[in-house]
Structures are given as C-alpha cells and as structure tokens.
C-alpha cells in the first residue's frame, strides 16, 4: 500500500483526453483552437473557486455560499466601477476585500462556534444573495469595455487574461497545498483533527484561513465573471456552488476531508467544461446536457471510490 500520489492525476488526464478524442471523432470541428478558446475563457471563475474549495474540503469543510458571494462580489465590482467611477484595480481590491470578509466570517463562525460549515455557509448563501440585491438595488450594472478586456482573448493567443490569472491561481493553490507547512497542516486537520491537535498543530486556524482564502479567490473570480459578460448581475452565480463542488469531487477530493489536490480539481473543471462544450457541439439540448453531466459526476466519484477500495 502506498500513499496516493501522481498516479491519480494521469487517470484524470486520460479521462479528459478520452473526452476530447471522443467529441473530436463525432463532432467535426471540435478539435479546433476556437473550441479550446471558448472552453478556456468560460472557466476562469470556476477554476479559481474550485481551487479555494479544494483547500476548504481538504480540511473537512464545505462552502455552499460561493455562488452567492460571487454574485455579491460582482455587485461590488459593478457599483465600484459604474456608480463610484472607480477603475478595474479598485474594483478588484473591493471585490477581494468583500469576498475575504465573508469567507473569514464563514470560517470563524463554523470553527469557533463549532457549527457544521454546511449549515453556516447555507445561511451565508442567503445572506450574500440578499446583500447582492441590496448593493445593486436589484439592477444589473452595465460596465462595458473597462472590464471586458480581462475576458477577451489576447492578441496572438486564444486565451484571455482571466484564464491566465486563473491558471496562476491554480498553480499557487497547488503549491500551497503540497509545498508549505500550512498545506501539510490542512491535510492533517482534515484527516484526523484529534491526532493533529496532539501532534501540536493549531486545528482552528488552518480551517478559518482556508475559508477566508476561498472568499478571496471568489472575489477575483467575480471580476473574471463580470469581464466575460461586461456587466454585473446580482443574479450571477445562482447554483454555481454545485458546479464548483462537482468539479472538485470529480477531481477526487474527499467530502470527508484529508484528501485532495488542486491540480486534480483543475482537471475536474476541465472534464466537466469539455463535456458540456462537446455536448453542445453535438447539438444536445440544455436538459439533455444536464442529465449527461449529472450522470458523469456520479460515475466519476463511483469509479474513484472503487479504485480506492480495490
């Protein structure tokens, strides 16, 4: 028996390559730079939040409020740029500040008051959504070119700056998890909090910080999201939390904590996004897309569980 290592990464890569080959064989024109670009430019927000969600789930927590916090942070971006006339940098700073504050609140309340993060973040899901409507007076803020540059493919490249930012976020997240003392503590706390405490690890702080970090990444994700649409919609990100959790789980991160990888969550996002793009290419309707995607998520987790047991 050996500790799970890179081997799982190859399995996910193979699944993704298989999907690409499958859709390439059926859908003429699927294997093109245009398809790749459209997938890559749709997922920055998902990648950033999946990175943070992986860290939270490694500690044994979960955050159901990411979609609403994404909506609220987007609203903050809209208000900053449209109503207050601020620039992109100011909007980004405000969005990260709000996201971090809400994430920290999730962490502090669930850890210090010993409440399940499932419940605490379920409450935050409602609170943040309400705040998003209050912030924008329930209106969509049209920002336009000032933010769209972030979501537009770069000259000579098929991907947008937002995608590159998200890639950097993924790399940093994986680095934190596998290269730092703090990352080691996250795993220990998630796998066996009692043993971690006896080993002299502060078991509260890693969990609180993981929630705060997810909040900060959600703040960045909100700006990416606004850039793609050119506007800030207080309804943005409804149901988004489920896509994030699905991608992380497809990547093999355990809901019970103690096991997870940001790199694999990245592949999880890629697999789900490629699947959706491929189905669209094949002319599948929205309902059919959802049925297939849901099935694939369950199948992926099932396969992971069986492989682990074998």
């Amino acid at each position: 028996m050996r500790a799970p290592r890179g081997s799982d990464l190859w399995v996910l890569l193979a699944v993704w390559a298989g999907l690409v080959a499958l859709f390439g064989a059926f859908g003429p024109g699927f294997l093109s730079a245009a398809t790749f670009g459209s997938v890559a430019n749709r997922i920055p927000a998902l990648l950033l939040t999946a990175t943070g969600m992986t860290l939270v789930m490694v500690t044994g927590g979960i955050d159901l409020s990411v979609g609403s916090v994404l909506g609220l942070c987007g609203a903050v971006v809209g208000v900053t740029m449209v109503d207050a006339g601020g620039g992109l940098a100011a909007a980004l700073a405000a969005s990260i500040a709000v996201g971090t504050a809400l994430g920290a609140a999730n962490g502090l309340v669930s850890v210090k008051l010993r409440l399940p993060s499932f419940i605490v973040t379920l409450g935050m899901l409602e609170i943040a959504r309400g705040l998003a409507f209050l912030t924008t007076h329930s209106q969509t803020k049209y920002i336009g070119a000032a933010v769209e540059g972030l979501g537009t493919p770069l000259a000579g490249l098929v991907v947008s700056p937002a995608f590159l930012i998200a890639l950097a976020g993924v790399a940093a997240g994986q680095g934190v998890l596998s290269l730092t003392v703090w990352g080691r503590h996250l795993v220990a706390v998630g796998a066996n909090a009692e043993a971690a405490a006896i080993a002299g690890i502060d078991v509260d702080r890693p969990r609180i910080w993981a929630h705060a970090l997810l909040g900060a990444l959600t703040g960045v994700a909100a700006v990416c999201n606004c850039s793609r649409l050119g506007s800030a919609d207080p309804n943005a990100g409804v149901g988004f939390e489920l896509s994030v959790i699905a991608a992380v789980v497809v990547g093999g991160t355990s809901l019970a904590g103690g096991r997870g990888s940001v790199a694999k969550s990245f592949l999880g996002v890629l697999i789900v996004a490629t699947l959706e793009a491929g189905l669209v290419q094949l002319g599948a309707s929205e309902p059919v897309k959802r049925v297939v995607t849901g099935g694939v998520i369950v199948a992926a987790v099932l396969a992971d569980t069986w492989r682990r047991r074998a």
């Binding site: 500790a3 290269l179 003392v181 006896i198 080993a199």
Partner: protein, 501 residues
Amino acid sequence: MLRTEHLTKRFGGVTALRDVSIDLRPGEIHALCGENGAGKSTLIKLLAGVHPHGSYAGRIEVDGREARFRSTRDSAAAGIAVIYQELDFVDPLTVADNLCLGAEPRRFGVFLDRAALRARAVAALERFGARIDPDAPMGSLGVGDRQLVEIAKALARDSRILILDEPTAALAGREVDVLLATLVELRARGLACVYISHRLEEVRRLADRVTVLRDGATVATLTRAEADERTLVRHMVGRELTDLYARAPAVPGPVRLAVEGLSVADASGAVRLADVSFELRAGEVLGIGGLMGAGRSELLMHLYGAFGRRRAGRVLLDGRPLPAGGPRAALAAGLALVTEDRRRYGLVLAESIGFNLSLSALAAVARAGFLQRAAEQARNRQWLESLRIKAAGLDAVVGGLSGGNQQKVVLGRALMTGPKVVMLDEPTRGIDVGAKLEVYALVQRLTDAGCAVLLVSSELPELVGLSDRILMLNAGRVGGSFARGAATPEALMRAALGAAA
C-alpha cells in the same frame, strides 16, 4: 447452568485465552478477577457470541448441552445477557421505549401498542423494585439508573444468566449499593451472574466464588472464604519478573518536571485527579500505575494541555511553569506525549509514514513556510532506520503497518521534537514481543541521553522493570509511591486497589 471447557482463543499470533474452564451454578454470583489484559473481556465476548463458534477451541455449555453461538442473537436466545460498561440506549426515547426496543408490542401487526408497551416496562422495572420513571427520557438518567434499566431489559427477555463487565466502574457510592442489592435479590431468585470487577471489596461482599485469570489462563477458583484480599492479589499478579524488562538504574540528574498538588476536573466538573504531586529527574523513569479509570491517562493528557481544567496545583518544567496553550505549547517547552490510543490520537492513518513522522516538527525543515522536501526526506529516513520501522518505505501508508511499527512511527513523531520529558502512555499495548523489546531499548536510550520519562503501563512487570520509581494512582489520588527495590507487585496492586499498605 453455564460451563466452559478448555476455551482457547487466539488473535493472530496472540493467545488471549488459554484453556479456560469455569462453571456457573443457578443462584450463584461468580466473580472474575484479573489484571487488565488477563482475558476477562475475551471470555465475555465468547459467552456473548461476539466471537462466533468456530473462532475458538473448546466448548461452551448451557444447561448441559453444547452451545454454538453464531452471533450475539444466539447467545441472547440461550438466556445470556451481557451488560457492558458502555450502554447503548436511544437517549431521546423514554425508558419504556428503550426497554422494549426491537420487541415492541404491536396492534394489527403495524401499529405500536403504547399501553402494552408501558405496562410491560412497568412490570419489568417492578420486578426488582427499581424506582425509575418509565416515561422519563433515557438521556436524563444517571449511569446507575441506566444500568438498572439494562438489567430490567435483560430480565424482560427472560435472561437467566447475567454477565456484568465492571458495572460499578462509573458509579458513585449510593448507586453501587443499589446495584449490589439488586444483584443479591436476583440471586435469591435463582439467577446466575458473572461479575467482573477490579474492586476487590465488592467482590468479597458479593461473590460466592471467584475465578482469577492471568495471561489468559485460569489461575484459581476460590470460594468466598478463601478469597481474602491478599490471596486474590497474589493470584492476580503472581508471576516472576524476568530480565526482559531490566533497565540499568538511572543516575538521576536535576529535576526536570515537578508536579505540585495537582487537582483536575473533567468537562462535566467531576474531579479526575486530586492532589497529585511528584518530581521527575533527568535520566529517570517514573512509572505511573493504577487500574483502569484511576486517572493515569488523564494525568498525562492534562500535563500535555489536552485534558481537563486545573482546579489547583502547578506544574514546573525545568523550574519554570509549563505555559498554557495546549499541546503546541507543551511540545515547544519540551514535553512530548505518546498517547495510548495511537490510531485515534497518534496517527493520520490514511497518510504515509513520512507525513506522520514529520508532523510535529515541520518548522525545522521549512524555510519561510515552504517545506524543504530533501531535508525532510533525509531526516525521515534517518528516523526510519534508527527506529527500525519495517515498511516498504517512507511512502507506505501508516494504516497498513503492524501495531509495533505504527507505535514506532508515533514514537518517532514525538521524539523528533527533541523533548526533555517524554510521556509514554501504554507504549507496548497491542504490539509483539520483538517490538516491545525495541521500545524498552528506546527508553534506555532516551534516559541515557538525559531525557526524563513518565511511563504509564498496565503491565506490572513492565512497570517494575523499567521504572526507577513508581507512583500508583487510585481513583485520581496517589495511592502509594515506591522506590525501585520496594516495588513488589503485591504492594503495587494493593496501592492501586486503595488497600492499606
């Protein structure tokens, strides 16, 4: 009524029970005595059907016929009821509900017949005059009453043989009296009872006969007249100390750890340690003995900052008060702990040996928060070799190792922090003889290097062989303190039992 013949039970290479024959007569209370690990629990589990027929050698007879229990259900059907220390009830339900749980009276096959249920419960409780409200929620009852409900439940199911596993361990004085009186009354009605207890005074009050187990074998079965305290203790301990444990006596250095008048209460406010004082010098091993529940682990966990609230007293490490702030502060001050339950408190089972070894001492191999992988690997490899951990490599998952190797990983994790005082809680429990010897050698190495060791062990020979001095705890208090030469097993056992020296 109940008889066992030549029962032998092995777990892997360990013989837990060897050729045990006892018999139980109607209207008899038969006590089982023995040290921790003598085989009492295993014997009960065979009688209860936890270990099914076929997994042991020998015979169990009920009413003269061989009983082949395949499950606990079979054992219950044969009239045997086991009342464990940990009682399983559904707390939000009422006493009556719990009494009939799984055998609820029905109306028309589907509806719960509440009236019949309550009547049945009342009858069961009244059968031995238990004053318990059948409508009270189970969770509101104290431990003593819960035990009485468990007995009532057994009687309601026509059990004729009661097996009680240390029923009074968690009871207060008055509750003990109620329980013992209940048992005496049941005996008068012809019930047979196997009674397991560490409290010799209860055994002498209650038992018609006493069987002493040691190392999985029956040593003697005594009548009430024969079973005086001295004889019981001699039978329970009575083995020769071998050279296995021999450790060179220490040349004690300066005082490392000083505990003065320590009193500690647990989360519910119950006092678990009272007025405990001792000194531990560099290079010395202080053994802490006592029976289960005497407060040994609680003492270690409290010193480590992981248990209870201090009511009085102070703890000095190298003359300075030990800083508050939990295990992290204790480790930083130079106090390390190897816990008794290594799977729960000691290890991250799903992770590798390297992950676990490093866990408490990551700072030493990190720069600006980033782990220096090469340095970490090199250090882990050194420890893997010096502790002689047998595994495929540092990447091997800890959960797949043998008990002995798991224990070495826990030891390595604690020692990697470079402690001045090492606290070992049952360091050899559940590990094979070879690994035990290596643990003993490690203790020698630690003390040679000037470490002070606080050792908790339930195995008296181990305690006597390794310790320079021994402190026996009894119900949270110091029951006696012994120098190396004065620590005869009999004297230790008497101190542990709270008997006058």
